[in-house]
């Protein structure tokens, strides 16, 4: 999950599979769509001239919120393969489909969270209710599991009780917590948090921000200012700017990613709430159109419910045939 200075991958906690474990649940939920797709494709001899197969594929992609342009790209690639005689069975079609999706979702750079700097600064932003605060709690916990110390800065000084919410997470994750009075200046809190990490010799600073719609110009300016203040304090910081995108989000997610990335250089996406039935296809649309990689996924409300993003798993979860 993290890229550290010594080049070693920080150790990952083993995911628990007690009772209705997380993965079991996730697999369960995703298998619905999988089953639907699988049923449609299973066993049949695949005839590229059969428009119905293509329509079903298109339907499945669109129903997963992949959006029209990304869907068209995927189908065109498959059609090209079929025309070239490379796809003859449904199984080949399904495998190639997953491969294409995984390819589109695979970033050229290291997909891990970069904590090589000391302290490394992570700025977390996104639309209201997408899961910023929760994701920060989870990241902080995973950092501690990996043996790193962490300061959390509460720069959401707008929403009622946002500070209390974050403080609860900080306690659960064993992280230091830096805040100001409600209504305070978010950039000042970010600055204080970074300063605290430096003076206490902590490894990582995570800065929470207030939820904002990408269309709110003054709030996007505020975000730029937070970014600027952090950059002014430490060269090269923030080392990661993470944008939370709710997996249930439709095509508006593209606009969110576009405008947030215009305001501050977004380095990765945290795709949250993948534990529902939403398939998060909007992440494919974002990767396809903007090239912003997904780095982490949220799969529940518990503190451990965060995973590194795996393009192949994602593609498989979307469409894999069979159980």
């Amino acid at each position: 999950m993290f890229r550290t200075a010594d080049g070693e991958d920080a150790p990952e906690p083993e995911p628990e599979e007690t009772g209705r474990g997380l993965f079991a649940r996730l697999r369960d939920n995703l298998s619905r769509s999988r089953r639907a797709m699988a049923q449609q494709l299973a066993g049949v001899m695949f005839d590229p001239a059969d428009t119905e197969v293509w329509e079903r594929l298109e339907e499945a992609l669109l129903l997963s919120d992949c959006g029209v342009p990304a869907t068209v790209t995927v189908i065109e690639r498959l059609e090209a393969d079929a025309d070239a005689g490379r796809l003859t069975t449904a199984d080949e079609l399904s495998a190639r489909l997953q491969q294409i999706i995984a390819e589109l979702m695979t970033p050229s750079d290291d997909p891990r969270i970069d904590i090589t700097a000391h302290p490394a600064v992570l700025l977390v932003t996104g639309v209201n209710g997408t899961g910023k605060t929760t994701s920060i709690g989870k990241i902080a916990w995973h950092l501690r599991e990996a043996g790193r110390t962490c300061v959390i800065g509460a720069a959401d000084t707008f929403r009622a009780a946002a500070g209390e919410q974050l403080e609860t997470w900080a306690q659960r994750a064993g992280a230091d917590f830096v805040s100001s009075q409600s209504g305070g200046d978010p950039a000042a809190v970010a600055f204080d948090a970074v300063a605290a990490a430096e003076s206490r010799d902590r490894d990582v600073v995570i800065v929470d921000t207030a939820g904002r719609l990408h269309t709110q110009g003054h709030l996007m300016d505020e975000l730029r200012k937070i970014h600027r203040v952090i950059a002014g304090r430490i060269d090269g910081a923030p080392h990661e700017v993470l944008l939370t995108i709710d997996a249930t989000t439709g095509q508006n997610g593209l606009q969110q990613a576009r405008l947030f990335a215009e305001a501050v250089e977004v380095t990765g996406i945290v795709l949250t709430k993948l534990d529902g039935t939403a398939k998060g296809g909007i992440a494919l649309a974002i990767a396809h159109e903007l090239g912003i990689p997904v780095k982490l996924i949220g799969i529940g409300e518990g503190i451990e419910d965060l995973r590194p993003f795996d393009p192949a798993d994602f593609a498989r979860a979307l469409f894999a045939g069979g159980e």
Binding site: V68, G129, T277
Partner: protein, 443 residues
């Protein structure tokens, strides 16, 4: 940004007009555009299919085939059908004969339930009722404190029993509390839950059974994608809600998810939420949401908001100017400032999203908030006579203005070009020819 359906169909169909009657193939193309537009707006795939079939039937009729502007005719049909599908204008809450009226909020995580409790309480207090709120989101850290803070700012009591209690018990106790204290409406906040989380859905059912609410409201994020159908259906099966509140409509989401809810459950949309502040709640208007889904702008909302902000005399002066085509850079500056007032707290894009055809033109002018600052500086660096008559502004004046405003000559040129375009557009509006307005003003 998305193209509006109006632009797309105009390009597809109106051009063909010159060739005489529309062919089957033309209609096919148009239906494809409609399908794309609706999918981009997050209307559910299945709903789109049925909807397009219906529109197709009507589009084959005489009203389109013989029209001079078939593209606009099809847009009109789509808009009408969409409005129809959207149901009637939002009716408010139903009130119990014997108070307290109980309102139960439900929805996914992060939809905006807690804030919505505050907004409803505020509306009710305005209506001279005495609301109270019950904190039953014991799941998310500090959700109780959030509701308490809202209650304090509204001076509305919040009943809470910490986070160790059972939410069903707290809900029941809260309603009793309201009754005992003579509050006439009690709003129950609940934890966000996934529609497939059986345990938590069951808990919601038990809260409903224990409190016998007169209104169960589903809070739905307007940015929701295709999954909205599953969410709407699962919550309907569990708690048979009475209506939907659509949140975060102050952004640029088209809100097509709402259609799925209507189409699949038949439940009405009651309110729309347009901001984080507690007064940003509006009744639902089906035709406005239809326009928005089609990317045709929210004409009525814009006009209403403008009316709040611009005095009547100002408006009349403006109109007279438009008719005489005397639109100067000074007016332009005045308008920009007006726009800024109107968009206070929600940004240019919010406002632009509400403008039809005109919006598209302004969009093409690429106005954004930082640019407003620049434009303001440039205009302020002109002499009054230059502002009234931009033709005076020659090369050396441009350099002077650029230096004075801290911009460059290119930016000054750009502004003058934009202004000219705007002036032309205003002239058209002044002559009563609202550009690109597909019969929407006749509502």
């Amino acid at each position: 940004m998305f193209e509006s359906l109006s632009d797309r169909l105009g390009a597809t169909l109106d051009g063909l007009r010159s060739q005489g009657r529309l062919s089957e193939e033309d209609i096919q193309k148009a239906m494809r555009e409609i399908r794309l537009a609706l999918l981009e707006a997050d209307v559910n795939f299945g709903v789109v299919r049925d909807f397009v079939a219906k529109v197709r039937e009507r589009a084959m009729g005489a009203e389109v085939m013989e029209s001079l502007t078939p593209g606009q005719q099809v847009v009109k049909i789509v808009h009408e059908e969409l409005t129809e599908l959207m149901g009637s204008a939002g009716s408010g809450l139903s009130f119990a004969n014997r108070p307290p009226t109980v309102v139960l909020m439900a929805g996914l995580q992060g939809a905006g339930k807690t804030t919505m409790c505050g907004k409803l309480a505020r509306v009710l207090a305005k209506q001279k009722r005495s609301p109270a709120m019950v904190a039953c989101d014991l799941q998310r850290p500090a959700a109780v404190q959030q509701l308490q803070t809202l209650g304090k700012s509204l001076q509305v009591p919040v009943y809470e029993r910490g986070t160790d209690a059972d939410p069903v018990e707290v809900a029941k106790w809260g309603v009793e509390q309201a009754r005992a204290q003579g509050r006439d409406v009690v709003i129950i906040d609940t934890a966000g839950r996934l529609h497939i989380d059986e345990e938590l859905m069951d808990q919601l059912v038990r809260v409903k059974q224990a409190t016998k609410p007169h209104n169960v409201l589903l809070v739905l994020d307007s940015m929701t994608g295709q999954d909205a159908v599953n969410v709407a259906q699962a919550f309907a099966e569990a708690v048979d809600y009475d209506g939907v509140i659509l949140t975060k409509l102050d952004g640029d989401a088209r809100g097509g998810a709402a259609l799925a809810v209507r189409a699949v459950t038949g439940k009405p949309i009651k309110y729309v939420s347009v901001g984080e502040k507690l007064d940003q709640l509006e009744p639902f208007h089906p035709d406005r949401l239809a326009s928005r889904i089609l990317g045709m702008g929210d004409v009525m909302s814009l006009i209403e908001r403008a009316q709040e902000q611009i005095s009547e005399t100002e408006a009349r002066e403006m109109e007279a100017k438009l008719r005489k085509s005397e639109f100067t850079l000074e007016d332009f500056l005045g308008q920009l400032r007006q726009v800024r007032k109107m968009t206070a707290g929600q940004g240019m894009a919010g406002l632009l999203g509400m403008l039809p055809g005109v919006g598209r033109q302004i969009k093409n002018l690429k106005v954004d908030e930082r640019q407003i600052d620049r434009v303001e500086a440039i205009i302020l660096s002109m002499t009054p006579s230059e502002r009234r008559n931009p033709r005076l502004i020659d090369g050396s004046r441009r350099r002077r203005i650029a230096a004075g405003s801290g911009t460059n000559v290119q930016q000054v040129n750009q502004l003058l070009g934009q202004f000219k375009q705007m002036q032309r557009m205003m002239k058209q509006v002044g002559k009563g020819k609202m550009p690109q307005l597909p019969g929407l003003m006749r509502r």
